[in-house]
Each structure stands twice: as structure tokens, then as C-alpha cells.
């Protein structure tokens, strides 16, 4: 008997749940833009330079920050990253800026009236500085991680001559995070199949035991992977790709991102002088 699959096909609108696949690549959005195509180490350098300039701009130069944001949004647009995605992902900074938001409420010195609140001027300046600079930094990181696969970022770090050991550890993590995650998922299903429900303090003991078991399993897997590497002649170096030749124009394209920030910075200084 042949059942038509079409008849009972369930339409899946958006695959939000990943079932443990591709934990390492969740952030990447596949698009064909020149920003996606840039060599990853240039993007990392450009992002770092941009953040450096932003951080060194005095927070009182608020005009510069407006310009930084406008420029950042232009780049986001060029990379075809939906603004909704950008803002949703930027929420990750909330725990970090939590205390910055509280700063204007505690302190000493001059007070200013903002709406119903009486705030401390110094705290207000310092707090808003952290929030604004932090947001610019986080959003820059989002552009980088959305337009570059995790694997490419690691390659970039390798090309930037980061210690090989660090890059190797990170590469292995990227490779095995999926395997370990699948394992964790299977353990969870097995627990729940036997009627376990993770609620309240009582379940902590079970979860801790499971975490321990997962650690031991991963550790043993590490040993097996090492054995299999030795069996194929591993002597401490992983294969590295051939050196890429990067033309000046590509460098320039990547560096436009921090360069515009520099121009904004200088322009603001000049305007401030007048």
C-alpha cells in the first residue's frame, strides 16, 4: 500500500527548534553581500578598531555617538541583516548594563531633574556612556557573527597569529559541541521517558548527576579522539591552509568600517572647537 505523503504533509513554517544540530552556527545568517565575502580576519580587525575608536570617544560628544549609530545601521543594512534580528540579539547585553542603568540613582554631587526622577549628574554620564558604548560594541559583534560562520572566525583568528593551541581548542569545541549537545538531548529524553520531570530543588541532584555523567563521557571521548589522531600520525600540529594573498583594495573595503568612525570622531572634535 502506498500512502501519499503529500496528503498528510505537515507544513513547517520556520524551523526554530534545532534538535541539537548546528549549535555552533546558530548565529550565522547566510546572505550574499560583500560584507559576508570579506576575509574573516579583516572583519575581526575592522570590528576591533571600530570598538576601540568608539570606546575612546568621550561620552559628552553625543553627536559623534548619533553618527556612530547611523553608520552602524548603514552597515547592518548593507549586510542584509534584519533590524529585528539585530535588536533581539543585542538583548544579550542586558545583564551587563544592568548596573550601569542603576548608576544615576546612587552617588554624590550635582543632581539633575529628569522627568519624575532626581538623578546624579556624574552617574548619569558614566551610566549612559557604558550603555551606549556597550551597545555599539555588542552590535558590531553581532554584525561580525551574523556575517561570518564560526568556523571562518576561527580561521581568521588563526591568520591573525593567535596562539595555535587556543584556536585548536576552540575548533574542537566547535566540532564537538553538536555531538555533546546531541548526547545531552538523548540523556534528557531518556530521563523524561522514565517519568522524570525537572521541577524544583529536588531535581537538582538528578541534573547534577547527569552533568557529571556527561562530563565523564566527553572526557572519554576526548581520549578516544586523541587516540584516533595519534593513529593518523598527529604530532601536535593541525593542518594549516596556505597563505592567502589579500589585495590592498580588499583591506581598504574592510577598513572603511573603522575609518568612517575615525572621520566622525575627528569631525566631532573640530565642531567642538568652533
Amino acid at each position: 500500500m502506498r500512502v501519499s505523503q503529500e496528503r498528510l504533509k505537515i507544513r513547517i513554517q520556520e524551523n526554530k527548534h534545532h534538535h541539537g544540530h548546528d549549535v555552533g552556527e546558530r548565529l550565522y545568517l547566510h546572505r550574499h553581500t560583500f560584507i559576508h565575502a570579506l576575509p574573516s580576519h579583516l572583519k575581526i580587525v575592522a570590528a576591533l578598531c571600530f570598538i576601540l575608536i568608539v570606546v575612546s570617544t568621550p561620552v559628552t560628544q553625543w553627536g559623534a555617538f548619533v553618527a556612530y549609530f547611523l553608520w552602524l545601521f548603514t552597515v547592518v543594512k548593507a549586510a542584509q541583516i534584519p533590524f529585528l534580528t539585530l535588536f533581539k540579539r543585542a538583548l544579550i547585553e542586558i545583564p551587563f548594563i544592568f548596573f550601569a542603568v542603576l548608576m544615576p540613582f546612587f552617588g554624590t554631587g550635582e543632581k539633575v531633574q529628569v522627568g519624575p526622577f532626581e538623578l546624579y549628574r556624574e552617574g548619569l554620564i558614566a551610566g549612559s556612556g557604558i550603555v551606549v558604548k556597550g551597545t555599539l560594541g555588542v552590535m558590531t559583534a553581532i554584525i561580525l557573527s551574523t556575517s561570518t560562520t564560526a568556523r571562518e572566525i576561527l580561521r581568521g583568528l588563526e591568520r591573525m597569529r593567535l596562539p595555535v593551541l587556543m584556536v585548536q581548542i576552540a575548533s574542537f569545541m566547535l566540532r564537538y559541541v553538536n555531538v555533546v549537545n546531541d548526547e545531552m538531548e538523548r540523556m534528557k529524553v531518556a530521563r523524561e521517558s522514565r517519568g522524570f520531570n525537572a521541577t524544583g530543588m529536588k531535581s537538582w541532584k538528578v541534573l547534577a548527576t547527569a552533568a557529571g555523567a556527561l562530563f565523564i563521557r566527553s572526557y572519554e571521548r576526548g581520549e578516544r579522539v586523541h587516540l584516533s589522531m595519534l593513529s593518523r600520525g598527529y604530532q601536535g600540529v593541525l593542518p594549516q591552509e596556505q597563505k592567502l594573498k589579500i589585495s590592498g583594495s580588499i583591506w581598504l573595503t574592510a577598513m572603511i568600517y573603522p575609518l568612517v568612525a575615525v572621520i566622525i570622531f575627528i569631525a566631532q572634535l573640530l565642531i567642538g572647537r568652533m
Binding site: 544540530h21 568556523r151 575548533s171 564537538y176 584516533s228 593513529s231 593518523r232 600520525g233 604530532q235 593541525l238
Partner: protein, 246 residues
């Protein structure tokens, strides 16, 4: 007579905790032979395999690969040995650790000093041998289990080994993947040692079988003869599937 691909003499081994796994193993495999190494769980099969490329140092007895002594202390010769003995491990996730299939296959030959176009050619050839050419740039975790097992075989073939050692090659495979792998293995012109307790698979692929039990080789002969010997199988916790007869 030619030098055997693998020659094991009086090999004994005990783990540091005192648990002895091998009690004097003697085994000789001629070039081009396909030998099934059968035995129940805990018979010492994996321990024996770990001696074939010097992962476990030889405590007593000797192992020769194509006439060359396996000596875990001699770093230069062990490098050579490991390029001659290709081990395919049971769990492909242990074997495939590089970000893409192609890079993983390049890992072994790279360690042997191959670079550039030569390396690329080796990778393409190995992928072709296991019918996985179109998966070169894919990350391993996107493949099915059967595909990963085939890539694991390719990672070892890329090293052009003298002898291919497979640890439970048919485990966890669905019937079609099992048959596809059998076709691939049969098409390879290479000396093979297959560790398994899948007796029909051994029957299908290997003309010769040896049984390892309690740390010694207890039987060595033509596969059909060994598998017909019910008492021998029973004594060593091996069984043909129900309904299977030779």
C-alpha cells in the same frame, strides 16, 4: 614466502590496574588477505588492535607490520608504522574531528608530509573510493551515520595503508548502509583485519577468521568452517543470527 603484512608473536599485555587482557597472541596475516577477528565482548579485541600501531606499547612478545617492528619508544619508526596501519574506529565521531570532511581526510596525509596539489589529489581519490565525493566541504555532523562511517574509512585510506583495521564496521548501520559499506570494502585491494561479532558480515567479506577469546587465539581457519562449528562458537559466546545457515 613474502613478508606478512602483520605478524604478531606471543603478545601479552596487562593494563596498569593489573587486569590482563592478552595472554600470548600469535597471528600472521599475509598481504592481500581479509581476516575477521571474532570474539565476544571483553575478549581483548580492541586491546589487540591498539598494539598494531603502537598506541599500546608492547610489554611482551612482538608485533611486525610489513617486516617492521612496532616499537612505541622509537618515535620515527612509529610515525612510519602509523601510516602503514590504518585503523577505522567504531564511533565515526571519534575519528572525524576536523571542521569539514575534506579537511579531515587531509589530516593523515598532511601529517605524513603531503602538501598542495598532491594532498588535494589524495583527498579526492579517497572520497571517490567511498563514493562521498560530493560531501567534501560538508561538516561531518551533517552526514548520516552510514555516511560518517564511510568518511572514516576514507580518512584512513588516504594514508595508503599497508593494512586496514576496522573496529566493528557494521555496528549501528541500517541494512542498506551495511551493504554499501560491504561493497566498498570488497572493492578495495588491501590487506584487511576486521574486528567484529557480526558473523554474517565476516562470512560475506573475509575468507579467513580467527577467534580471540580470553586473550588468546582459540581458532584460526576458513570462515565457513569456523562458522559451521557450533560448539566452537558456543564456547566463545558467538552465535549466528536465527535462521542463518551456511
Amino acid at each position: 614466502m613474502n613478508t606478512p603484512s602483520l605478524e604478531i608473536k606471543e603478545l601479552a599485555f596487562a593494563y596498569p590496574d593489573g587486569n590482563q587482557a592478552l595472554f600470548g597472541v600469535n597471528l600472521s596475516v599475509q598481504r592481500g588477505e581479509r581476516v575477521a577477528l571474532l570474539g565476544p565482548n571483553g575478549a581483548g579485541k580492541t586491546t589487540l588492535v591498539m598494539h598494531m600501531n603502537g598506541i599500546h606499547p608492547t610489554a611482551h612478545g612482538s608485533v611486525h607490520v610489513a617486516g617492521q617492528l612496532v616499537d612505541a619508544k622509537d618515535k620515527e619508526s612509529i610515525k612510519d608504522i602509523r601510516s602503514k596501519v590504518g585503523i577505522v574506529f567504531q564511533d565515526p565521531d571519534d575519528q572525524l574531528f576536523m571542521p569539514t570532511v575534506g579537511e579531515d581526510i587531509a589530516f593523515g596525509p598532511y601529517n605524513m608530509g603531503k602538501r598542495g596539489a598532491e594532498l588535494d589529489a589524495i583527498v579526492d581519490e579517497a572520497l571517490h573510493l567511498v563514493g562521498m565525493s560530493e560531501f567534501k566541504d560538508r561538516p561531518p555532523h551533517h552526514l548520516s551515520f552510514g555516511q560518517r562511517r564511510r568518511v572514516a574509512v576514507a580518512t584512513v585510506l588516504a594514508m595508503k595503508p599497508e593494512i586496514l583495521v576496522l573496529d566493528e564496521p557494521s555496528s549501528n548501520l541500517d541494512p542498506a548502509s551495511r551493504r554499501e559499506l560491504a561493497d566498498i570494502l570488497r572493492s578495495l585491494d588491501i590487506t584487511m583485519v576486521m574486528v567484529t561479532h557480526d558473523l554474517p558480515y565476516a562470512f560475506e567479506l573475509c575468507e579467513r577468521s580467527v577467534i580471540l577469546s580470553g586473550g588468546v587465539i582459540v581458532a584460526d581457519g576458513k570462515t565457513p568452517e569456523i562458522l559451521k562449528n557450533d560448539e566452537l562458537l558456543k564456547a566463545n559466546r558467538l552465535e549466528l543470527p536465527v535462521g542463518f545457515s551456511i
